[in-house]
Symmetry: C2
Subunit: 212 residues, 2 copies
DNA sequence: TAGATTGTTAATCGATTAACAATC
DNA sequence: TAGATTGTTAATCGATTAACAATC
């Protein structure tokens, strides 16, 4: 449970997981303390930025010394809500949904894919990377019974709103949406949109205009 | 070829593809003109923001009327570098790389996956969604011969820097990196990092702190 | 102690929002 | 004309960077 609810700027917030990842690496390398400069190098930002970002969450380090790796990692985990393992579900067992379900990297942040859902009869019951594909009609019950808080949406654009509504009604708290549509949901549901194609288009623009 | 190289704020830049997508939809619905408010609704931003964003690229609309769908779509395509089809390669034929290679959505932005590479002997030569998996040892030649500008990196973290170096040396101009590492590359290469697990961690934080 | 490094304040820079004259 | 809507300027808000006293 986090001690308080700081108001953290969105860009800072996006950097926190990078700091966290660096701390895990530092721990493996048996580092005891790290400096804001080391953290900055890992995340690609200046040391001052790191200190500012961490400042939003409280006091982490000791002047003249740096940041204690173990302690900081634990406190960051608390703040990010990763101190206990989190169960996440994936809806959509197409290529993308299946790939996400099988992705190992979530473990870094103590996240686990708990179940995978689809509406396609020919997929339901099959196994994808150690998970049985469940019927999306049951996703609401599953969320409620298991107290699932987060879902990853990897369904076709035409289905996304409908599935999101079902998840929302079941009480989901956060959705990572891969469908290229703007979801219309109550403000109680936190949504993060990831549009791979749009990403590539933005990259194309930056490339052409040699931006940043 | 874009007429000029405007300095566009990064957040604005991320919205341009959303406007573009809306214009494609509007076109299908036979809309002739759209307003900044309609564009804003589609992208989830205020109308004033839309006008500001478009203002960076020149004059698109007509006061009292709105934006001509066809004309604006064409001009945005030019600016985003999408007026001619772009060939993109994917390196890494694991689950994620394969899913990306087969993803249909890139067509929206005139992007095409031209080839898929891997280092695994057992994968090379097999077919993934209509593409033959090629040997990553040949990726440099391929990039040079075909004049490929953009690459998607979906290899394990431990391989990412090495592959990125090869791409960079072959003259690649932009990389969309899915490996959870900060790539160290010459500033001539534009890099965009997409860390799915970090995304989920950020979402977790926002959920817990009910941010935004 | 001297050197290192934090946390925080102040200064700068950048992005968003509001307002409105110009235009259709 | 009157109503609608742009492009742009000015005002506000937010984020980054720089600087430095406090601390180890």
């Amino acid at each position: 449970m986090p001690e308080r609810s700081p108001k953290v700027p969105i860009p800072s917030l996006n950097r926190l997981p990078l700091y966290y990842r660096y701390l895990l690496e530092a721990r493996e390398q048996r580092l005891v303390v790290v400096s804001s400069e080391m953290l900055g190098d890992a995340a690609g930002v200046p040391a001052a930025q790191v200190r500012k970002d961490l400042g939003y969450l409280g006091e982490f380090g000791r002047p003249g010394i740096g940041y204690d790796v173990m302690e900081m990692q634990k406190r960051l985990a608390e703040q990010l809500g990763l101190s206990t393992q989190k169960d996440v579900i994936v809806v959509g067992a197409g290529r993308l949904g299946s790939a996400i379900s099988a992705y190992r990297g979530f473990a870094t942040y103590s996240m686990r894919i708990a179940a995978l859902f689809d509406s396609d009869r020919s997929k339901i019951g099959t196994r994808v990377g150690g998970l049985e594909v469940l019927d999306v009609a049951e996703v609401g019950c599953f969320v409620q019974e298991r107290g699932i808080q987060m879902a990853i949406l990897a369904v076709p654009a035409s289905m996304a709103q409908q599935v999101a509504d079902a998840l929302s009604q079941a009480g989901i708290a956060a959705i990572l949406n891969f469908a290229p549509v703007k979801l219309d949901l109550p403000s109680s549901v936190v949504v993060s949109n990831e549009d791979l194609a749009a990403r590539l288009a933005t990259l194309s623009f930056r490339m052409i205009h040699r931006q940043e």
